[in-house]
């Protein structure tokens, strides 16, 4: 056991304030990260479920899925573009539904009815007419395999034949149906925005070359009638996604800054208090490096312990608030937060370095 750990064990009260502060900040960091992941992943699942590298919208849609319409003629032009090897249509209606046999508004299910025509790594091949693969989140609302959901104003019956994970769109669980069933739902629920046969909202494009070269080739081939995005651009163009990302990243960054501030202030005070002890140690031949390592090890241990405490609090909160907020605790996020916290605490403990260097060993003599 080193001098640093002995001090932590024997004088825990001295480190209690900074430990509690860092534990609370760890909780905040984990909650912010969890909310960011919950919001972003919950909003983008339907797009992340697609394998195609390029998403093609109509030019006048301004990258909005709901406004976009691609006609069969435009789709033919897309398919004929250089480098394009395959196309698949996608349609979306944000709607509500209810399980067959239930009544009342309390039993309404929020749904993103997604029409599709090509299976992916996440999605099986499209089901038959009147059938659907449901997002697993709907299981929490009592949907099971074999359930029939009456979708939209037209109460179009759709039978659930299986479940898929992580395919929500803007936090609404998706119901994956074939394009004809989707058009039925769209026409019944949004008669003002009905889509004709063969019309889709987005065309997914597979091809050779880079996604960027495909984007250019497709938009050139349609004479500017389309606006194509790479998969990542399409994900970030979803309403609110980029803003959520920027907002939460700023909050996380500010919290990390506060971690650094608190740690550095604490170790500055500790250095002031230890001044005569450090002077004596230096007089006895102890180098500045050893004194800095003493503080840094304590910063790392306090931050590590605080992270564990913060993690436990966060897990407790996640259980207590399950289903009420879009909190998603991802192991990768926890590891990144842990590393950031430790690195910031270590840097914070280095802030008094100049003060330690400037302590004159001769000051140990009266």
């Amino acid at each position: 056991m080193s001098v640093a750990t002995r001090e932590l064990r024997r004088r825990p009260g001295r480190f209690a304030f900074v430990g509690i502060a860092l534990a609370l900040l760890s909780t905040l960091l984990l909650l912010l990260g969890g909310l960011l992941d919950g919001l972003v992943l919950g909003s983008t699942g339907a797009f992340r479920a697609q394998d195609a590298p390029v998403f093609v919208y109509s030019a006048d849609a301004q990258d909005s899925f709901l406004r976009s319409r691609i006609t069969p003629a435009e789709r033919d032009q897309i398919a004929a573009a250089p480098g394009v090897t395959g196309t698949a249509g996608l349609g979306l209606t944000l709607d509500a539904g209810r399980l067959e046999g239930t009544t009342g508004t309390d039993n309404l299910l929020d749904l993103a009815v997604m029409g599709y025509e090509q299976g992916t790594n996440v999605l099986p091949a499209p089901p038959g007419p009147g059938e659907a693969y449901a997002d697993a989140a709907l299981q929490d609302d009592g949907v099971t395999e074999g359930s029939t959901i009456l979708v939209g104003l037209g109460e179009i019956p759709v039978r659930v034949v299986g479940f898929v994970d992580d395919t929500s769109y803007l936090l609404q669980p998706a119901l994956w149906v074939d394009l004809d069933t989707w058009r039925q739902v769209q026409t019944a629920s949004r008669p003002d925005a009905a889509v004709a046969d063969g019309v889709v909202q987005v065309v997914l494009v597979d091809g050779t070359g880079t996604p960027e070269s495909l984007v250019t080739a497709v938009d050139d081939a349609t004479g500017g009638a389309t606006s194509s995005l790479t998969r990542d651009e399409a994900i970030f163009s979803l309403p609110g996604t980029a803003e959520q990302n920027a907002t939460f990243t700023a909050l996380i960054g500010t919290t990390i800054f506060v971690v650094g501030l608190i740690t550095s202030l604490f170790f500055i005070l500790l250095t002031v208090e230890r001044r005569s002890l450090y002077a004596a140690m230096k007089a006895l031949g102890v180098g500045t490096g050893a004194l800095v390592r003493w503080s840094m090890l304590q910063a790392l241990l306090v931050a590590g312990t605080a992270f564990v405490l913060g993690g436990l609090v966060t897990l407790g909160l996640a259980q207590a608030l399950a289903g009420q907020i879009p909190l998603l605790l991802e192991p990768t996020r926890a590891v990144v937060t842990f590393v950031l916290l430790l690195a910031t605490a270590a840097i914070g403990s280095l802030i008094p370095l100049r003060r330690i260097i400037r302590i004159d060993p001769a000051s140990a003599i009266s």
Binding site: S276, L277, A279, A283, L284, G285, V286, A290, I365
Partner: protein, 223 residues
């Protein structure tokens, strides 16, 4: 060979356009087993002389030889290494690490300088035994009596088997009786180990425990 030899040592501090002479052409030799008392009023240069003798300060002029090694031109880093290996210090306020036990206070410097090991632990245990502190080995320094803390500080100064031990006002905070006890302890330990030392004090009653007394006034030494 002498344990300490100061030759024509001056220490000057700049002060605006002028200079303050803290030590002026000082000559001092301390033999191998000699205990020298350095006495003088406040501001006379005692601390400066002690700091230069222990390699905490470098002189403006002159030379400093400790244990036969001329340390006058050593860099701060080399001086730190030299102090760690050859010089023992007992500070006026002792400066023990408050959350460490008596044993750990003896081993803290070796530990922080990467020299922990069985030999270090045995040396610390031997010293505690010799200083009558074996039974208090695992007691934190804050729970030791004043006399025990003084002995721990002496033990820490002896851990590196120094050639020269420097005592800075070891009795300043003690009444006469306790001061004499501490000086008696210092005298005994230094004699038994055959070590050289310099004891800075402002109390003339304590000089009787030393082999020789050197007075310092306004930076000038007088035997």
């Amino acid at each position: 060979m002498s344990a300490l030899a100061l030759r024509d040592v001056r220490k000057v501090y700049p002060s605006g356009d002028t200079e303050i002479v803290a030590l002026d052409h000082a000559e001092l030799t301390v033999d191998d087993t000699e205990l020298v008392a350095l006495i003088g009023p406040s501001g006379s240069g005692k601390s400066t002389l002690l700091s230069i003798a222990g390699g905490l300060l470098t002189p403006s002029e002159g030379s400093v030889t400790v244990a036969g090694e001329d340390i006058t031109a050593y860099s701060p880093k080399r001086l730190a290494s030299f102090r760690r290996d050859h010089v023992g210090f007992v500070f006026q306020s002792l400066n023990l690490v408050p959350f460490l036990t008596a044993f750990e206070n003896l081993t803290v410097v070796p530990e922080l300088t990467g020299r922990r090991g069985a030999a270090t632990r045995k040396r610390a245990d031997d010293l505690l035994e010799e200083l009558g502190l074996a039974a208090r080995r695992n007691v934190r320094s804050t729970d030791l009596s004043g006399g025990e803390r003084q002995r721990v500080a002496i033990g820490r100064a002896l851990m590196n088997e120094p050639c020269l031990v420097l005592f800075d006002e070891p009795t300043s905070a003690l009444d006469t009786e306790r001061g004499e006890q501490v000086m008696g302890l210092i005298r005994r330990e230094m004699t038994e180990r055959g070590l050289a030392g310099v004891v800075v004090t402002h109390d003339r009653r304590m000089t009787g425990f030393c082999d020789r007394t050197v007075e310092i006034t306004d930076g000038h030494l007088a035997a």
